[in-house]
Symmetry: C2
Amino acid sequence: MVLTNQELLKDLLKREDEFMAQKFYSETNLKFIVNDVHELESLSKYPKFEGYDEDSINMILDTAKGIAKDHMFPYFSEMDKNQPVYTGSTIKVHPFVRNFMKIMAEGGWITAPFPVEHGGQNMPMSAFIASSFILSAANYSQSVYPGLTTGALGLIFNYAAKELQDIFTPQMISGAWQGTMALTEPEAGSSLGDVKTKAVPTGKGYYLVRGQKTFISAGDHDGVDNIVHLMLARIEGAPAGVKGLSLFIVPKHRPGDNNTLVFNDVNCAGCYHKMGYRGAPIAQLSMGESDDCHGYLVGEENKGLSYMFHMMNEARINVGLGAAAISSAAYNAALEYTRERQQGRKITEKDSAKPQIAIIEHTDIKRMLLKQRAIVEGSLSLIIYTGKLVDLMSVTEGAEREHYELLLDILTPVVKTYPSEMGIISTSQAIQCMGGYGYTDDFTAEQYMRDVRIHPIHEGTTGIQGMDLLGRKVTMKGGAAVKAYISEMQKTVQEAGEFPELTGYAESLTGAVQLWQGVIGELVQFAMKGEIDRFLADSTIFLELTGIICIAWQWLIQGIEIRKQLQNKTSRYSSEFMEGKMITLKYFYLYELPGVFALERILRNSGGFTAAVDPIYFED
Amino acid sequence: MVLTNQELLKDLLKREDEFMAQKFYSETNLKFIVNDVHELESLSKYPKFEGYDEDSINMILDTAKGIAKDHMFPYFSEMDKNQPVYTGSTIKVHPFVRNFMKIMAEGGWITAPFPVEHGGQNMPMSAFIASSFILSAANYSQSVYPGLTTGALGLIFNYAAKELQDIFTPQMISGAWQGTMALTEPEAGSSLGDVKTKAVPTGKGYYLVRGQKTFISAGDHDGVDNIVHLMLARIEGAPAGVKGLSLFIVPKHRPGDNNTLVFNDVNCAGCYHKMGYRGAPIAQLSMGESDDCHGYLVGEENKGLSYMFHMMNEARINVGLGAAAISSAAYNAALEYTRERQQGRKITEKDSAKPQIAIIEHTDIKRMLLKQRAIVEGSLSLIIYTGKLVDLMSVTEGAEREHYELLLDILTPVVKTYPSEMGIISTSQAIQCMGGYGYTDDFTAEQYMRDVRIHPIHEGTTGIQGMDLLGRKVTMKGGAAVKAYISEMQKTVQEAGEFPELTGYAESLTGAVQLWQGVIGELVQFAMKGEIDRFLADSTIFLELTGIICIAWQWLIQGIEIRKQLQNKTSRYSSEFMEGKMITLKYFYLYELPGVFALERILRNSGGFTAAVDPIYFED
């Protein structure tokens, strides 16, 4: 069912009475980070990104804002309260999803980052990510429908044969078909090497697929006409483990004769009901129950996981992005509330006949707001930075490209995890600012906390990210990624040294980087001795340490930009905004950065003792 | 509607198929803490607690376990999924609530801690709390119905005239009437001095009450025949602020002629829908819409808040208890899951053809389980300890009593806050242990995280507790509470010194206590200079610091008991349990205690700068 324009208008008018206009991100801050801090316009000097000057990037952000405001936030609470329902053959989702897919397709959002020949606009990934931040802040669940199609299209364009592209991509681009990433199975979640879904060659241009998938986001729903799964499966006879996985296109309906669609034996077996993120249908799938599920091999046999990993960096940036966006919305909701809500008086005011004050005047509320702002805006800066690395990698070569790649490699687990884990804390603080009201569903904060909780889990849990960071990224190429990253942080420190207001922070960051290097030096010894269990025992703690320092670095980068503009007296931003940024920078260095001293102690003193704990000691 | 036994049995049988038996607390650990660590039996030497020997306390715990298992956990998920519904005049709750109130009344649970003349059993508060831990772990929302009646009865017995006692208490004791605490109003939450509900004297033995209350737990529902509110209101002409508040009994229905009940103009105006804690109806009330709401003064005029505060210590222990209980249930759910769930292999195992292992074998999972266990069992030890202080205060006099009172005063904000704030982290880690499944409502973890989120809010937010601790408790009586508390920690350190296995921990605790004293010394200077804003700016951070050290102390107390039993070779506990406790103690000192070094830095270096931040800098 597609709603008519008439119906949509009516619906929208009704809705306007029901919800108050809520700010879910700071437009000023986003533009500051995009245009001033990371200067995405600078990418336009590369032919690929020609024309993406500041005006055009701002126009992208403005357009995204319109979509978020008109077509996403109005459904934020509604999609949560009316969860997707499994019908027995598909999953019934909010009727607006169908319209939304069309809106996104017509606006070119599904293909924006692709080259023109694939219907795209060569939009820099960083700018695309910046616009996704707005959409995700408005309604994260809703944002994943088109986002997943974009991800699936990327795989098809990169690795699938031209004829497969011609069959599947036009309807995905038009928003009529949904793309998915179908990796997880009941017995293969974090351990992808255990994927059991089988693909048997037929010699007829397709494989017969049989198996089960679970936790597939947008894995089936009635908001589109077809679902196109990019699915990992094991070709009969392939090696065990990750080296035997191949990538297939497995559509729910396959093309038949005369432009018809034939059911492809991909059965929707159920839908999860979740703590949050309820607007998105998370499906269980069963393929080949009637031995009639055709799968089309993408690229070469047994290279499926490497193709998937090619998309993984971007997918993980997107998770961090989603978490930061949700935290942004929660922060703005808390900010609005604390400005309005009158409660109590200054602690030095003893006259209880005096009127109450807005709670934003209370110190503890200000501290909680600063914490949220520091997390949200620090995370966002890192997210845009890593997006820019993706862009730079795509237009450079040789040593320069390798430098960007190393940075992206080491920062990917951080940009995925810091916003996700801290998003729990940040949204929880938003509730706390609002007291009892924040715990009720009359306000949005509680939904944000439920929504954000998925992010430390999907696209690789925090534990997996920790092992990726310490076990793979830190040690890769003789520590080349660590070196590249430290050189960038040192550059920032040097630049900050030119501003008296920043030298204290620069020194603190230098100290933290040295602390981090010291910890690495100590831990890597265990790797060299082959004591892998010991080496990786506290990798999650190491990731937490790395995250704090990384965000401190991003805050110093922002501080430099502020000081520059103040020095040059050429800022387009209000003095309140600029002073607010300096205050938040100060907050981060005084309240968040000290966490490294606790984490360092853990890493140096724990002896990795948890590795040797026998599970029997959890018995009683 | 009361379900018949026949219906109940049918219902129970149906239910048994639906839910798996789940362990929600460690019986062994609870008994270890109750009997061995804090030796509640020792209270039986006082005449008031005569007969409460170990066997009888264990019997209480066993009985509570039976109730929890048979009458509470079966409704845990169901009460969440079917929230209370506002009918226009009352709130419809789960039909079993009515039966449950009867069961609790008949078992003597509503009055257990009261003296015999009030229908009680003189049960030590500590033993009552221990049994409440079991009930709250099984179904926190359900546990508050009888718990609130107990609290209200306590106030009535302590402060109300005999004739009021005779009118209201019998039906409360029988479970037919619900008791509540009605403090909060729309404009008076944290700021109770702003309570506006008015009481006008009539000279006829009652006052006419008019006003609104909100967030009243069990404030109206159809599981009882009447609601008895213990309500704060301001008598006409009373002073502004907290000094003008009086306490009233305000029933929904008041006694009329011939044993009839007359509607008392207490109108239920609505019911909140909440993130969690959904089994309990949180009501909005409007009194005196028809100018016919009678209120009966309890005790003296204008002393209402002091009466309320008399119950506040216990109420706050109960909040910490509820949080620890929920975290316990989440931990046990995670433990069960991680033992069953097969995923991945040892990181040193390269052969992907080998079978997968239970995820409890993975180091990061063990670390997360230890974190939860450390929080849950450390909190529980503190909770039972503070309960015992309540008991000791009730049977001692003079300096001894004062010592216990000082300890209770300083520990109350800690026992309220540490389990509540860490409960968010702990239940979140339970979800993380379970990965994607933990995020679905097919498992209980996500509900625990939603349920626990209320605890840092109700009965005084964490911010309020921080100010209470630093602004009131630390400075009271020239620092007497600090001194009393430090002397207790030093006693523990001294005792630990006798066991070589504990001396390292004893030294760490000594260091932490000195660090804490140093911070206090620095902060109190600001109080002495009259810089109150500066003094209290980081009181929440100070509370966090205090909490970690306090739980480290409780873990050392537990460690001493384990070492004693190992030395004497007389333990009734398994070696796995005892070794598990030692491992968790080790975990706490290596992974949680180091947090104090970060918090100390914040407290020493922040300059309390957030106090001076102008809210204008949150603009952009």
